[in-house]
């Protein structure tokens, strides 16, 4: 149970404060300010002082804090805090000090709805948006008429969907987005390569559609190696997790993904795959320190995906020693620039065709130091996004939509593999 909810700015001023249970006083916020915000040594996201526990998530320039006095579920509190952040984003874009100050009335209204006596309530953005609106003036009559329906929906078996959705054109968009995690050792051995996948759906479908979704995978949850030869294109998923609209019981028995989708955009599923990952980029590094005041880099970047595909916004972040004074770099494509503040050479290539290869050479001059410790060489990071490519090889086989009225629907599927600080190569 969450006894209190606060939002602080970086100075420790209270922006939002709401108590949900009677076991705490408002002044508890001072304790958090003193013990956490003004204490640079705090490293843990949960602090327990006496019998009061503070859970905090720092985002942009605010602290979102849940407080409890009991042996609460830590996972629940953090999930709730993150849900609050997602909801805030959906309502007013970014969660930072300014937006909190501008929207404090709305935030109180939301909190009142999503948390009652410390127990999280309906937190589906779609439903919340029906009765907590940003434009404050709304015809009261309209509210009164709707509210019965709204409340039924907010608590119903499909709390995520209204029943009276209508579209002239019934469409569903499926985005398969894969984040590639790679950790490669100095020697070029893959220490860890896996994919965190997300299937996002935007459903613009009328009525109460019943959807069935199929992937090129038998969803072998347990690796049963002895079930005969697997078909070439089958993908092994280590684990998958679904939006609450998916019938988990049914998935457990026959591995079919069936659901009534919420209206609009939602995350249908998350999955994880670790076998047969197609790495979209290979990086060969040759970094030497010929003298104490100099580091030389030669970095080959090779796009190993199909020549018909493109990668966009490729960014290679190459760490330099802290005492670097000057960097000179040469590259065949894109731009490479030394950013002294972050100690990186940042090599940006807006677009790379598959199967192409580029090289960067750079020399960093170092200042003389008395410091004896060797440079720790943080890994090189690579960011990219490759459209129509899945590193796991996952494909959507079908999406079937059944509705009473029997309308035809159009479905679109997109694939994207990306990395955001998760593609690391040691050198």
């Amino acid at each position: 149970m969450i006894s209190a909810f606060f939002i602080f700015n970086q100075k420790g001023e209270v922006l939002i404060s709401r108590l949900f249970r009677t076991d705490l006083k408002r002044s508890i916020s001072d304790v958090f300010r003193i013990q956490v915000i003004s204490n640079p040594d705090v490293r843990s996201p949960i602090i327990t002082l006496g019998s009061t526990s503070f859970f905090h998530v720092k985002i942009n320039n605010v602290y979102v804090v849940g407080v409890t006095k009991c042996n609460a579920s830590a996972a629940l509190v953090f999930e709730f805090l993150y849900r609050f952040i997602t909801i805030s984003r959906a309502y007013f874009g970014k969660l930072d000090e300014e937006s909190v100050k501008n929207n404090f009335v709305l935030i109180y209204e939301l909190l009142d709805e999503i948390l009652d006596f410390g127990y999280p309530q309906n937190s589906e953005i779609d439903t919340l948006k029906m009765y907590i609106t940003t434009e404050s003036i709304k015809s009261e009559m309209a509210v009164r008429e709707d509210s019965s329906k709204i409340t039924i929906q907010a608590t119903g078996a499909t709390s995520w969907r209204r029943s009276d959705v209508k579209y002239r054109k019934n469409e569903a968009f499926v985005d398969v987005i894969e984040t590639v995690n790679l950790l490669m050792s100095k020697e070029g051995a893959v220490l860890r390569a896996d994919v965190d996948g997300q299937i996002l759906m935007r459903a613009y479908l009328s009525g109460t559609p019943e959807c069935k979704f199929g992937l090129n995978d038998k969803l072998v949850l347990q690796k049963r190696g002895d079930t005969g030869p697997k078909s070439e294109d089958a993908v092994e998923l280590d684990d998958c997790q679904f939006h609450q609209c998916v019938r988990l019981g049914k998935f457990d028995t026959d591995r079919s993904i069936s659901f009534i989708p919420p209206d609009g955009e939602f995350e249908l599923m998350r999955y994880r795959s670790t076998s047969n990952i197609n790495l979209p980029f290979r990086l060969q590094t040759h970094v030497t320190e010929p003298t104490k005041s100099r580091v030389e880099y030669t970095i080959h970047l090779r796009a190993s995906f199909d020549a018909k595909l493109n990668a966009n916004n490729v960014v290679v972040r190459i760490p330099t020693p802290l005492n670097t004074t000057k960097v000179e770099s040469k590259t065949g494509a894109g731009k490479a620039k030394y950013h002294p503040g972050e100690n990186f050479i940042i090599w940006k290539i807006p677009r790379i065709q598959g199967q192409q290869e580029y090289t960067l050479t750079a020399e960093a001059d170092l200042a003389q130091t008395t410091h004896r410790q060797a440079w720790s060489r943080p890994p090189i990071e690579l960011d990219f996004s490759v459209v129509m490519f899945t590193a796991s090889g996952l494909l959507v086989r079908f999406l079937k939509v059944f509705e009473k009225s029997g309308y035809q629907s159009v479905k679109w599927v997109r694939y994207l593999s990306k990395a955001n600080g998760s593609y690391q190569i040691r050198f």
């Binding site: 009677t22 013990q35 327990t48 953090f78 009652d116 409340t151 608590t155 220490l191």
Partner: protein
Amino acid sequence: MSAAPPRKGENWELRQQLNSEYRDKRADAIKRVIANHTIGKDCSGLFPDVVKNMQTDDLEQKKLVYLYLMNYAKTQPELVILAVNTFVKDTADSNPLVRALAIRTMSVLRAEKILDYLASPLSRCLKDENPYVRKTAALCVAKVFDLKPELCVEYGFIETLRDLIGDGNPMVVANAVAALGDIHEASLALPPSNPSSPNGESPPPSSRPSSQLFIIDQPTLTKLLVALNECSEWGRIAILNTLARYKAQDVAESEHICERVMPQFQHINAAVVLGAVKVIMIHMRNVQREDLLRSLSRKMAPPLVTLISSAPEVQWVALRNINLLLQKRPDILANEMRVFFCKYNDPPYVKVEKLEIMVRLASERNVDTLLGELKEYASEVDVEFVRKAVLAIGQAAIKIETAAERCVGVLMDLIETRVSYVVQEAVIVMKDIFRKYPHSYEGIIPALCANLDELDEPEAKASLIWIIGEYAEKIDNADELLTVFLEAFKEESYPVQLQTLTAIVKLFLKKPDQSQAIVQRVLQAATKDCDSPDVRDRAYIYWRLLSSDPAAAKSVVLSVRPPISLPQTTVVPAILEELLGEISSLASVYHKPAATFIGKGRLGAEEMQRRAVDQTRPEEEVSREKALQTVVAGQQAENLLDFDDEPSAPTEAGAISSQAIASAAKSSNPLDELMDLFSSASMAAPTTQPVQSTGMSGSMADLMSPMNGSGTRSGVVSPTVAAPPPQQQLNGAEDDLLGLF
């Protein structure tokens, strides 16, 4: 208010606006009041003016007025009565949102007066046709119980709640379950001292608040299992928490629960996943079927691994819980070590947890990869993390005998980097490796000694001195090395002094001919110039031993110590079982029973009684109880400092911040415990035990007391007591204790 407050200032202005004839001006003023309240200004003076705005058709404005009331009702109990009428009217509004809002607000006002008016609207709302109102009202019962338990009993709200478990709407079921759970918890905390007073007031004695307010029987169980698959994520957590409390009647029922809960592993919400793990860990205890057990373990692994890619805070919670799960079932993640590799940009608290888990998962098959990783981490910049990485190498060496040589190789590589804190930590770790594998890696001692000048931390110095003393016969210039430390004896910290003393005595016993002088000097220095009673006492003991019976001295000082080993668990088995039943809670994150940090004295006599009543396996419960009490006792100082209603002195409160967790983890880590022994009393154990051996009762406390050695035991030494080889005796008596090492 007739005292005419000053006709200026912000509050005066606000009052004008709140009474304005223009509606938007009033609405604006309410917003400003709330804003002022948020930043901590006292707005209680505006109470009557705000309440006037309560009757409005604008739902948003109504919400704000209600919010104001929630915050200030307690300060103006007399005036709250002004609002009652509107509240009661609103609970019968045609708009369900308004009905729910009114009942929700009314039940948290915390004013006696309001409560009397609350009863009938609440019973109406509990039976409202609209599920939204019902689910809101369900939680209101818990709120009322918090304020006035008798009221709930009098009006039969709790029975109504029980009926709501059978409601057709899953959200209502979920909230009813949550409310009942809350009431159950609260009733446990109620003082049992006055059982007669509610008894006397309420006619039916059977319905007085008792610890049996929420009994989960089989029909309830069936309803819960159905609702589990239908309700929202938060509702699922409430239901899972309740399922965790349920005591299965037989094996078949346990199996049934496990099977029904298992699909929740696929939920996207980490709290649901961990909640399901908790329920399964509890009910798995009864499951006998091998295939089901295997399938449960196998299905548990992937969702746990998936949690590692969530937000860092959630990840951390998951990691702490995984650490706990692995202590019970080390096999579940045996093949998954790679996912625990630290990313360079992981937050430090996540990295440290990952390290611990990696060591847990280390086996002969993956130790090479592990060592490669650890070596990599040792070159990072975060000092604390680097030290932990080095320590982990040592733990791997102790855990996997076949890999020890490779671990030592890596450690030697690290020592060559000559980075001060890496070298120091490596030396400390090497000492542990020597403890585990005596006489195996003597070849590296010269390399260690070469770093003598690098060491400036007491623990590292003490470790190196211990190594020199232990292998004095193999080190040609041992006397020279020790003389270096002896020169600075007075300036050293006590652990180093103790260690120097012991090492020189060892040297003397091994090579008596060339170290007569130095042993004389150290005994002189320790007895004359040292202000620590520990050091002095030990010096006296040695002195007498050496002068009266050198053979006895030899058998005491040079006795063979049992090798150390890495334990499977960091908490006592009884507590581990308890914590596994609380997966995902704070207790499981801290690896400490809830009573140690919630500290309402709940683990007092009544708790014992309750446990005694519903215990199924007595001896197990009793041992758990004992273990819990020990832990609680150790924490009491902290609880005393609870700042419950005393925000003025919060800084003094005992903090279980990360440092404390780290130290808790540290103290529960046997290697460190060992080091603590070393640092606090060095090798006191084998040398001083004979003193106590007559009174040795075999308990940890007894062993500890001579080590902490604050008492003055001078002069009680008689060599005859030391005659039997004490270690042997100890081995038998202290099995438990040594098991910890």
